[in-house]
Symmetry: C2
């Protein structure tokens, strides 16, 4: 029997649980029920129990959940304890901002290189890196054991670059910030983050509100 794939709805709730639990830990709260967690996150207690049970129950009947254990379990599920090497393609504003955002380093991401095609910026410093020529992408991926590629190029070239990246053996994830939806394959998962889409949704929802 093939194990049931976890639905995207469940997957996208996991980081929210993790954030909430991590705040509880900071407040030195070591025990929590699905009901309380529901009040904190806005999900129903039923849904929370269902979600957790996709990964095997880690609560105790009559007691609730041990916050520290839960934290460990969810970190394990999200696989965020293991560090990953990444590169950024496109050293425009967004690419440079991501390179500079040290926050990611605090999580599990080590950004090893940033690339661009524009000769005017190749060689310039960016954070603790130097912007490299795109022709060295493949060799850098091999040498530095890169598993994640972050696409910050204009949309016109994003798909083509993504296809090339997917052929690199060590690449298993693409984080795409260009406003094109790139499809993954058996080997590579693609997380599409379209800020423009998000802005459009904001615009639509604002229209629905009172007075505007």
């Amino acid at each position: 029997m093939k194990k049931q794939a976890i639905s995207m709805n469940v997957v996208r709730r996991l980081p929210k649980y993790l954030r909430c639990i991590s705040e509880l830990l900071e407040e030195k709260i070591f025990r929590i029920s699905s009901k309380q967690l529901g009040e904190l996150t806005g999900f129903t207690s039923s849904q929370i129990r269902q979600d957790f049970n996709h990964f095997g129950g880690f609560g105790k009947q009559g007691y609730g959940y041990d916050v520290q254990a839960l934290y460990g379990e969810i970190c394990e599920i999200l696989a965020i304890k293991k560090r990953r090497n990444a590169i950024i393609i496109g050293a425009g504003n967004l690419g440079q901002a991501i390179a500079n955002y040290s926050g990611f380093r605090e999580y599990f991401l080590d950004i090893k290189a940033i690339f661009d095609i524009d000769e005017n910026i190749i060689g310039k410093p960016c954070c603790d890196l130097v912007i490299k020529d795109q022709q060295y992408i493949d060799s850098t991926i091999d040498e530095e054991n890169i598993s994640i590629a972050i696409i910050c190029t204009p949309k016109e070239v994003a798909s083509e670059i993504a296809q090339k990246l997917m052929n690199c053996p060590s690449i298993h994830g693409i984080w795409n910030f260009a406003p094109v939806d790139i499809k993954g394959n058996d080997k590579v998962f693609v997380e599409n983050v379209s800020l423009v889409d998000s802005l459009y949704v904001l615009s639509f929802m604002m229209k629905q509100k009172r007075n505007k």
Copy 2:
């Protein structure tokens, strides 16, 4: 009879339709069926027809959809023809990147000011703006008729700032990049974009793939 609210699933598909249709226009394709649109977007033709009919049918039986008309309709639905004034709170890397990302200006967003609390950067230039002291947020919102606030602060202060912003009469939307889920109210819609959540999802999904 109160009209049925549009589900978030539908709303989040609208920008994808718009992007696809806009590419068709660039290619000078002026007629499209739901079936063809389905092949381009990855949605079923049935779903596309259902989605469009939430807003009144804009197709012709036996013909399909007029691409130009469709483009206009979806722009109208998303309310992106009207320009909006925005401010950015937090002039760290992400805040500055958004200020610099001229792409948004090409859409409908005019960024009128960027604020920070750090005296060391207040007064410094950022794009065509100068970083302002956060104490002037309220007065700027009034003077410049700001309807969107973009939060790029650390998570510790994001919720508190959001609450204050929601009390400003002209603010109807908050685009929140801090990793905290902020709840909107009757007047203000909050679009939460947590890049950390997105990164966690990428990590989880990579684990599921072959070889990694």
